[in-house]
């Protein structure tokens, strides 16, 4: 009763989610533990497989930078982002202009309707 959220259309309970998370983590740990028994730490089994190439010393060379994340998403929505970047163009007077424009629109809507 301390954890139930009633929305007026139904309800939702924190405990059920916590129980679900507990079961899920139990299964995850069980699966992890039932892995291969012949694994030994500190042998060749620890080495990273990097498509047969030499693994770079520095982790920086094999990590994906933030700019590359969601490359496809941004590529698809390029036209949308072109418009948006032209709005966020860093000109202080444009920012003021958008403010004045929205004041004018809000005032006109409220007064005329």
């Amino acid at each position: 009763m301390w954890t139930k959220v009633v929305t007026g259309f139904g309800y939702w309970d924190v405990y059920s989610w916590l129980i679900f998370l507990a079961i899920a983590s139990f299964f995850t740990l069980w699966l992890r533990n039932s892995g291969r028994q012949d694994y030994k730490e500190g042998t060749y089994q620890d080495e990273i497989y990097f498509s047969g190439n030499d693994v770079p010393e520095d982790g920086q060379d094999i990590s994906v930078p933030a700019d590359s994340a969601y490359w496809g998403f941004i590529k698809v929505f390029r036209p949308y982002y072109d418009v948006m970047l032209s709005v966020h163009n860093g000109l202080a007077q444009d920012y003021l202009g958008y403010f004045v424009l929205s004041i004018a629109i809000i005032t006109a809507l409220i007064v005329l309707l």
Binding site: T7, G8, S63, A66, Y95, F99, S102, I106, L109, L113
Partner: protein, 521 residues
């Protein structure tokens, strides 16, 4: 003498004293100044807690500044209040509680975070003044006084955004913020002048009891809405927010989130308590809903492509403000129609108000973790980070908690408030819910990106000698993490004790007015 009655005045007097006395304590050296900072911030938190308790037990608290009796709102022979009155209802107390928690967390965080910079006496003064301005906006009952506190908060935040004055970007952000914010403040003052010219009172409750719509009132309403929407960040006017939040020191960004919510509170006060039922058509409600949807979606889509961590989070601050505007807009749509209010309007209001508290906690926490990343690596660029979970597992844990909460993953508190907003806005139009859900997905996407690039990944050589995270910074983040987790595990308690009284206070215009006007109304 009952000291409980003086809590509203103490809530403003203590941080004001703290700010004015900081230069004196600064002479005693660093330790004394830090102790003073923490003592004042903690006392503000305790006073806000006591005030919230007092309000939830005894109802609306009224404090008349300078009268013979501090509860005498109407002088003898007068039907209207003449003095400045602090009026604390459940919503004000709720907001003040949220504000004081973030202020305390930011204060703890600042102790080591700001340690390597000069001018810290000024920093502490400005930080406390920002707190004063925020709390004053939340508890004042007088329109001109609201403007004065708005200006205190604005001027303090101009100084704090430009605090790292050797970075050109910080100065630029401060200037842009100042330009927009001054125009907005002057619009607020013009609107106050209009209402004063019509009714010859400055008290919010008194104006609420007298108001009837004409062209002057409509224009004043439009000016107040657009100016306060600029200060809290709604779509075409939020453009200063990524600059200012991104360039301010992290603990200041954490507090600035709540300061902009004080403007949001002012917006709600204007719409519900001053205009309320007098505003018969639904234009304002739809304006709030459409602002909410636009700022929600556009800000989050801009956040996905950012690579500077604090700028990304600042865009999310705008996007989450959209949820509050949506929730409260739907509530405003149902105002005056008791069936619609019972069916979905009140749920939407509860969602919007609960989201304010949740947002203050988890967004503050996210800004503090971003500050920790900056402290450790000396950069804010996500392209230059990686593998930091090995260096500071606690920061990573708190980041995950906050990111799960902001993305609305069940069972976090963000999900509880978003669920209330989804279900009630669905009753108005399914499209509103669709936009809100898409926004939630994009929020999760961008935080997965931050977590993956900053914390995960192989160990990197350039991250070998990062700074250790000091204990006081962990304490600052820990306060907000505990708040997020408490709200997560006891949502029913939070809804029935914190949120529901606040949402009821919002729709109870008659109660707000009667607390000041008494029988005269």
């Amino acid at each position: 003498m009952n000291w409980h009655a003086h809590l509203p005045a103490l809530l403003l007097a203590v941080p004001l004293l703290g700010a004015f006395a900081t230069p004196v304590f600064n002479m005693g050296g660093k330790t004394l100044r830090n102790a003073w900072f923490i003592v004042i911030s903690s006392s503000v938190f305790l006073i806000a807690l006591a005030l919230w308790h007092q309000v939830s037990v005894n109802g609306i608290q009224v404090y008349v500044m300078g009268a013979e009796q501090f509860a005498l709102s109407l002088p003898s022979g007068m039907k209207l209040p003449v003095r400045i009155i602090l009026e604390v209802d459940a919503l004000s107390a709720f907001m003040a509680l949220a504000g004081s928690i973030t202020s305390l967390a930011g204060a703890w965080f600042s102790l080591s975070f700001m340690d390597r910079f000069t001018g810290l006496s000024r920093f502490v003064s400005l930080y406390l003044l920002l707190t004063v301005g925020m709390l004053g906006m939340m508890i004042t009952g007088d329109l001109f006084n609201f403007f004065v506190f708005l200006e205190i908060a604005s001027v303090a935040s101009y100084g704090l955004v430009a605090f790292w004055r050797d970075r050109p970007q910080a100065i630029e952000a401060s200037f842009k913020y100042m330009l927009l914010s001054q125009l907005a403040a002057m619009l607020v003052l013009v609107a106050i002048g209009f209402l004063y010219g019509r009714y010859n009172v400055l008290n919010m409750a008194a104006i609420g009891s007298l108001i009837h719509m004409g062209i002057v009132e409509k224009v004043a309403l439009a000016f107040l809405i657009s100016a306060l929407a600029l200060k809290c960040g709604a779509f075409p006017m939020y453009l200063w927010i990524p600059d200012a939040y991104g360039e301010a020191p992290a603990s200041v960004s954490c507090l600035l989130v709540t300061v902009s919510q004080a403007s949001l509170y002012g917006l709600f006060r204007v719409c519900f308590s001053i205009y309320g039922l007098a505003m018969s058509n639904k234009v304002v409600a739809w304006i709030l809903i459409i602002f909410g949807l636009l700022s929600m979606f556009i800000a989050v889509s801009m956040a996905v492509i950012q690579h500077e961590v604090k700028r990304l989070m600042a865009y999310h601050a705008v996007s989450q403000t959209g949820y509050m505007l949506l929730g409260v807009g739907v509530g405003l749509l149902a105002l005056g129609n008791s069936q619609a209010l019972a069916e979905y309007g009140f749920t939407a209001l509860k969602g919007g108000v609960f989201h304010i508290f949740n947002h203050a906690m988890y967004k503050g926490l996210l800004f503090l973790t971003a500050g920790t990343l900056y402290y450790m690596t000396g950069t804010r660029d996500l392209n230059k980070m990686g593998g930091l979970v090995r260096k500071s597992p606690w920061t990573a844990f708190m980041f995950v908690v906050a990111a799960a909460a902001i993305a609305g993953l069940p069972p976090m508190n963000g999900f509880a408030s978003k669920l209330l907003i989804y279900q009630s806005s669905f009753a108005v139009h399914p499209l509103l819910t669709v936009v809100a859900l898409v926004t939630s997905i994009l929020t999760l996407a961008s935080f997965v990106k931050v977590f993956q690039t900053a914390f995960l990944g192989p160990e990197q050589d350039r991250m070998a000698d990062v700074k250790k995270v000091p204990a006081t910074m962990l304490v600052g983040m820990g306060i907000l993490t505990v708040a997020v987790l408490l709200l997560t595990f006891f949502p029913t308690w939070a809804l029935s004790h914190l949120v529901e009284p606040a949402a009821k206070a919002l729709v109870d215009q008659a109660g707000y007015i009667a607390a000041i006007m008494g029988g005269a109304f």
